[in-house]
């Protein structure tokens, strides 16, 4: 790509305009400051034939001042002169790119848009983890709301401000250390931005046993609230010993004839939930057992478990395996760039700042305690406002 050189001087408004115009388009340039009638200025006049400032050169070719630059861009000639592919659009520079479309990311989008920041939201889905539940009973203003309706309302709110969205696409890599950051998506597109808000949430932890990956969706699931009704009339095993596992068992008690609960540790969840589970004749508990493998050709046919105490193994015939052994933060992309805690959550301060200039994080991917929809939404708002403050101070 041809290089752009700008001759400028202090207190020259069109020099400032020309520079910010290029920055907005994500086009790099070299600036040479010259005082009128200095040697540098004389050299500029020789190269361009003009003594007014700014003077802009693309490669060795003088193209004029600010208005000439705008004209070139509007006619599409700027791209050609720069040696970019003729039809390719010049990549815009975003103020903020939000990664993640759960309550934190969507709330950040609303706040960013209301501050008139040029915003792009990139997410594999809309709703995030909240979409794994059927209803929400503790979001202020909604004593009981269908999750799909709540997410639709969130999305509607974001759409009202016309935020650009890229949904169904993941982020492949990030370059976060420069002043202008790069977000490269799974489909190979590059986006430039001044700030990034990381709102990628969490994902279920896997068992990492043979047969698990092969049988996902064919009896293996990580979302009992979503999928429990599908296990009607089937025998199932629930992996885990905490509240989520107990809730999964309770959901399944309504539809499945036999439920095995398999936990590495003694059952640890709330007593009310434990009582419900223990008193059900449908449930058989194997605590301090580990799972060795999931068996089945095309669908789940059974599991093999082993007692931690005696080492004795056992086969259970089940058609479903519901895994509820906790969540992992989706922080891998920024692990090397920002500080994370022992369990991989991004550490943020009270303004959702990560410690790396221009990089903010919010919601369940952070170390902020209490993973709740309302907390995530609040954190998203804070992250966007912090990003706004950051951008203002950079000007």
């Amino acid at each position: 790509m041809a290089k752009i050189t700008i001759y400028s001087t202090d207190g020259c408004p069109f020099c400032v305009k020309a520079k910010s115009f290029l920055a907005e388009k994500g086009i790099g340039y070299e600036e040479i400051e010259v005082l009128p009638r200095s040697n540098g200025w004389k050299e500029m006049k020789k190269k361009t034939g003009s003594g007014s400032l700014p003077q802009i050169l693309i490669g060795d070719e003088p193209v004029g001042g600010y208005s000439d630059l705008v004209h070139l861009e509007a006619s599409g000639e700027l791209s050609q002169k720069l040696g970019r592919a003729g039809k390719e659009e010049v990549t815009p520079l975003y103020d903020v790119i939000i990664i993640g479309g759960g309550p934190a990311g969507l709330s950040a989008a609303v706040y960013a848009a209301r501050k008139v920041l040029k915003t792009l939201l990139v997410s594999e889905d809309i709703g995030g983890q909240v979409a794994w539940t059927y209803d929400v009973d503790n979001y202020l203003g909604f004593s009981q709301v269908d999750t799909a309706d709540l997410i639709a309302k969130f999305e509607e709110h974001v759409e009202k401000y016309g935020v650009e969205k890229l949904v169904g696409v993941g982020v492949k890599t990030l370059e976060l250390t420069g002043k202008i950051k790069k977000v490269i998506t799974g489909d190979g597109k590059t986006f430039l931005t001044k700030t990034v808000i990381f709102a990628t949430g969490k994902r279920p932890r896997l068992l990492n046993v043979p047969g698990e990956k092969e049988l996902i969706g064919m009896g293996v699931t990580y979302c009992s609230t979503c999928d429990a009704p599908l296990f009607a009339d089937l025998d199932v095993a629930v992996m885990g010993g905490g509240n989520s596992a107990l809730e999964a068992v309770i959901d399944l008690m309504k539809v499945a004839p036999k439920i095995y609960m398999v936990s590495l540790t003694p059952i640890t969840g709330d007593e009310i939930l434990q009582d419900k589970v223990i008193s059900s004749p449908k449930v058989e508990i194997f605590s301090e057992y580990k799972i060795l493998r999931i068996e089945g050709k095309s669908t789940v046919e059974g599991i093999e478990i082993e007692s931690l105490e005696t080492g004795e193994s056992k086969k259970l015939s089940v058609q479903g395996v519901i895994v509820e052994i906790g969540l992992l933060p989706n922080s891998e992309l920024v692990m090397d760039t920002v500080k994370t805690n022992r369990i991989g959550e991004i550490m943020v301060d009270s303004g959702c700042r990560t410690g790396v200039a221009g990089i903010f994080a919010c919601g369940d991917v952070t170390d902020v305690p209490y993973k709740q929809v309302i907390v995530a939404a609040g954190e998203g708002a804070k992250a966007a406002l912090s990003a706004y403050d950051y951008i203002i101070k950079q000007r």
């Binding site: 889905d125 809309i126 709703g127 949904v167 169904g168 696409v169 996902i216 969706g217 064919m218 009896g219 699931t221 979503c226 999928d227 009704p229 599908l230 296990f231 009607a232 089937l234 095309s298 669908t299 789940v300 058609q319 479903g320």
Partner: protein
């Protein structure tokens, strides 16, 4: 999300609520080789388990071809 995607594409579809319709659940398991996950999307002769934008888009191309023939 799959439903929204199809609507935006202007594709007509029939929606079966397998959580409340045991017959539909049975049919879903049959056509998908025993899938216990939603959504299961049947397009032309393809059955897709789960929502994957790219795969669904690819599957829909058969639909476009067949409607062109018409």
């Amino acid at each position: 999300m799959a439903k929204e995607f199809l609507s935006k594409k202007g594709v007509e579809f029939t929606d079966y609520d397998v959580k409340n319709d045991k017959e539909a659940l049975k049919e879903m398991k049959k056509i998908s080789g025993g899938a216990l996950r939603v959504p299961v999307i049947s397009v032309c002769n393809n059955v897709l388990v789960g929502f994957d934008r790219d795969r669904l888009e690819q599957a829909l191309s058969c639909f476009k071809q067949s409607s062109k023939i018409e």
